[in-house]
């Protein structure tokens, strides 16, 4: 067993940098400011106001925009009297033929299933807190899932890919954009918003049953 240094008596007064493991006194920065690790400059705590409200707003917006993105027309193409509509579902099904079929599942996951799952997990774990109740059972697991899925949620990358594809085909045919395209574009804003407002450290503390 390790010898106990006096500073180790109260673990709640300490924080370890997640990036370089440096042990620090935990000092919560003033509202609107951030605390960074003095050694590697990794973000430790960002004391943003209304972190629960903002995160919930982002998750609810994602859910609404996703419904619009799936059910409204996405893009249409007209050339020499021929008309072709493509929905988001058609884009997902693009790889369905032949041996690249598993890619269909991956694309569906990246652009629809994972963003929706994250939104649901965030709402499930944070809504009770917003309503002043105790966290729901499994709230910690649910928030952990939302954070683990974050790099795999690629709705904003998809819409940039669509923009590139459109530049390729606009010379060949008339392209018209539907509401679904704009819903996906708006998701970029929501993703940027979440990246700037969500402080994991703050939310974990709020979810901690010992603190309620």
């Amino acid at each position: 067993m390790h010898t106990r240094h006096p500073i180790l008596e109260n673990l709640d007064s300490l924080i370890a940098c997640r990036s370089c493991d440096l042990l620090l006194d935990r000092v919560i920065p003033p509202p609107g400011k951030v605390a960074r690790c003095p050694r590697c400059h990794h973000l430790l705590i960002s004391n943003k106001r209304n972190v629960i409200d903002n995160t919930l707003a982002g998750a609810v917006s994602t859910a609404i925009l996703m419904v619009a993105a799936i059910f409204f027309p996405f893009i249409a193409l007209d050339e020499a009297g021929l008309h072709r509509d493509a929905s988001v579902m058609d884009a997902i099904g693009a790889f369905a033929d032949g041996w690249s079929a598993p890619l269909t599942i991956a694309v569906a996951a990246f652009i629809v299933v994972i963003p929706v799952t994250r939104a649901a997990a965030l709402i499930y774990s944070l809504l009770p807190l917003r309503l002043g109740r105790r966290p729901a059972g499994g709230a910690a697991r649910s928030f952990r899932l939302a954070m683990a899925l974050k790099p795999w949620s690629m709705a904003e990358i998809f819409i940039v890919g669509v923009a590139v594809a459109l530049i390729k085909v606009t010379d060949l045919a008339d392209v018209s954009l539907g509401p679904s395209f704009w819903a996906f574009s708006a998701l970029i804003v929501v993703v940027v918003f979440e990246n700037t407002t969500l402080c994991e450290w703050t939310i974990w503390r709020l979810l901690d049953p010992k603190r309620r």
Partner: protein
């Protein structure tokens, strides 16, 4: 803000503590297997980081080869099929005069993947054998790599939407080539390599020479 000066730097591991990778809760090292707050498995350093990083990285590089050799797009215009590789597609865009898009495609599908292979390998070698780059510089490279890796997936989505959209029978139709799946796998494997890398190792390798001197 934080108070530990350069003279008194001590890591959580040196203090006999482990910080939860998920929620940051501190616990005495070895006292329990899972975090009390979020139930994630507790590890002071990501387990078998080196093996996992090299395995995912090599898988990513292997998949990147067919991704460039085979066609990404099979374009059928008036009965003639032309095959477009990643590089071929970008060159075609240059010829159209779509410079900006061509640069986006080249950056997303060639520069970023290759840079990621190089950076991850260099970080691993730096941890093992020491590096001429400062720990700060290496940390920045790691953060950029982790942030930007997902954006390589753009090309896969370009293929998906072109395939969905351009289905005008005899006039023009586009179908995905075998490179699309290989490229997607390469991006996923490289993302997993970056996620398996433990940035703490960069800083641990700085501390070790002092430890050796002390002994």
């Amino acid at each position: 803000m934080a108070t530990a000066g350069p003279q008194e730097t001590i890591t959580a591991r040196e203090a006999g503590l482990v910080s939860c990778n998920t929620c940051g809760t501190l616990a005495p090292l070895g006292s329990r297997a899972v975090c009390t707050r979020c139930h994630a498995a507790l590890h002071s350093r990501r387990p078998h980081s080196a093996q996992r990083v090299w395995a995912w990285l090599i898988a990513g590089i292997i998949c990147y080869i067919p991704a460039n050799i085979y066609p990404m797009l099979l374009t059928n215009t008036f009965g003639r099929v032309s095959e477009g590789t990643i590089i071929g597609g970008a060159i075609e865009l240059f010829e159209y005069g779509a410079w900006f898009v061509a640069v986006v495609v080249i950056v997303a599908s060639v520069v970023i993947p290759v840079a990621k292979f190089v950076v991850i390998a260099a970080l691993m070698l730096g941890v093992r054998y020491g590096s001429r780059l400062s720990a700060h510089r290496r940390m920045q490279l790691y953060e950029i790599t982790e942030f930007i890796g997902r954006w390589s997936m753009i090309d896969v989505f370009v293929v998906a939407i072109l395939t969905a959209l351009v289905q005008l029978g005899f006039i023009a139709s586009i179908n995905p080539g075998p490179a699309a799946a290989a490229f997607a796998l390469s991006v996923v494997f490289t993302m997993l390599a970056a996620q398996s890398f433990d940035p703490r190792l960069i800083w641990d390798s700085l501390e070790e020479p002092q430890d050796r001197a002390r002994r």
